[in-house]
Symmetry: C2
């Protein structure tokens, strides 16, 4: 699982930084988290193919988190997309989108579904490759965080060994699930002879926009990577609280409390040109911190 | 009067080109014509100050002409703008904007007015410096062109001469209007002794998106500069007609028919990487043609 940052700024674009959007890539599937203005252009710029994007998640109804959505959907349709697209967001989002489509007499060229986020959170998607859960964070508007669980693809095949034991390709998926193989000559090929342990499942937690609170800590506990908003530095923590945002120091505290392995910072206020102080502040108590840069892809 | 191109591409952003938006500058006042996604970022990038922008005109309800509007208005409000903002566009625009503002509980920090475009066209703004008229063009949705008339500031003062005849500063505005000055000693100072001819008034006509038709020719007749959409080259003129768009050749024909002095081309389809063929095609019958480039400012 990897994440590419398309926008790491707060509401006002500044210093070439864009409003919030990021793409999570899981074995080739792309998931879009928030869709600030300019997302379609940023995806083009960073070589992320729309056709591989089938799930879009919108955290809340502040414009810097969704104003890029009508344009992206429109462009997908103009390009003759046929793959389904699933949108998950606040219930208020769909009437606005529908009105925009209706006014332009746009009929989407592809199957499109919308699922409103349940207030109390819950499971949104669950397939063989990943699951996505949403949970309420605490902002000036109802807002949700997302937890993405990239499932293991099972045990890892050792092709040379499989070949040695003459195991047919068609049985490989069964091997990945840990099963042994019984040959026609009666030999029981033990699974551990022809496979090794597969990659660990990974969990990515995304929290923006929110005041510092432990109310959603259970949802993000043990995340491999935590993306947590840091609109301000600690010197502005009162302003952060008033505006239902967080500081870099609070992001680091959250990462520690959640026992995360890595912290990604973003949603920087336009008052800051240099974002290195964000990293420094958080790293003082949570060393494995990255102040995200647009166009950069981070391993989770 | 000058125009800065912010977006010269058609609906699908491509090759770094953005959807439609341009800023007309008249003696320091800025007017925005259409507001495709990314307009606020493009304005920042090209050093155009939002505070000098008080009039926004939206031609029609295809998203590539207005999806940047909610973000721009939102950002102006976040920055604490106090200057009034006047928006002119299709009647269907305001309910969408209002819904977006309401859902986010946004109260704009500045006075904001909306004026729907009359179907048959008409005068939208008229002040000492400029006037703006809209007129219907012919597209798959109701769509308007705009004619901007930068008024002359009157005759040009010759300060040394005014000083010689002891004309008080407070009378300069009257001189600009062409009046003579009667001194206390009875001498009648003829206007032409102390002024020269002022700059010519200029007219800029903006036509996008439209099929090739002479239905609106009377509105654009004699424009100093005509901006006319050229989504396609002549080889695709049937596609252009089907989609209610025009070709570079048709843009040149329109410029000739309107007796314009200069032609600006834009709204290029994303199928073309190189836009020089648009200029060549149009220039074959209308030599003073420019294929616009984003970030470039053109004299009108």
């Amino acid at each position: 699982m990897k994440v590419t940052i398309l926008g790491n700024n707060s509401a006002l674009p500044a210093f070439g930084r864009h409003p919030t959007a990021q793409v999570v890539s899981i074995f080739g599937d792309l998931l879009l988290l928030d869709c600030g203005e300019g997302t379609q252009i940023q995806m083009q710029r960073f070589g992320l193919r729309w056709r591989n994007l089938q799930h879009i998640f919108i955290s809340h109804m502040h414009g810097d988190h969704y104003f890029g959505l009508p344009g992206l959907i429109n462009s997908m349709s103009l390009l003759g997309r046929i793959a389904p697209l699933h949108l998950y967001g606040p219930a208020a989002l769909m009437p606005i989108l529908q009105q925009i489509l209706d006014v332009a007499k746009t009929k989407l060229a592809f199957p499109f579904t919308f699922q409103p986020l349940p207030d109390e959170g819950g499971l949104l998607v669950d397939n063989d490759i990943f699951s996505v859960t949403c949970f309420p964070v605490s902002h000036s508007l109802p807002c949700h965080g997302f937890l993405i669980h990239a499932k293991t693809k099972g045990r890892k095949i050792v092709p040379a060994k499989c070949h040695e034991y003459e195991i047919p390709l068609s049985y490989y998926d069964t091997l990945k699930k840990g099963e042994d193989y019984k040959r026609d000559d009666g030999l029981l090929v033990k699974n551990e002879w022809v496979t090794t342990e597969g990659p660990e499942p990974k969990r990515y937690a995304y929290c923006t926009d929110t005041i510092f609170t432990d109310s959603f800590l259970p949802f993000i506990m043990g995340a491999d990577t935590l993306y947590y908003e840091s609109t301000y530095l600690d010197a502005d923590k009162e302003k952060a609280a008033t505006r239902f945002h967080s500081t870099a120091m609070q992001a680091a505290q959250m990462a520690k409390m959640a026992n995360a392995k890595q912290l990604l910072l973003g949603h920087f206020s336009s008052k800051y040109k240099d974002i290195e102080p964000f990293r420094q502040e958080a790293a003082s108590i949570f060393p494995n911190t990255i102040a995200t840069v647009e166009g950069t892809t981070y391993d989770i």
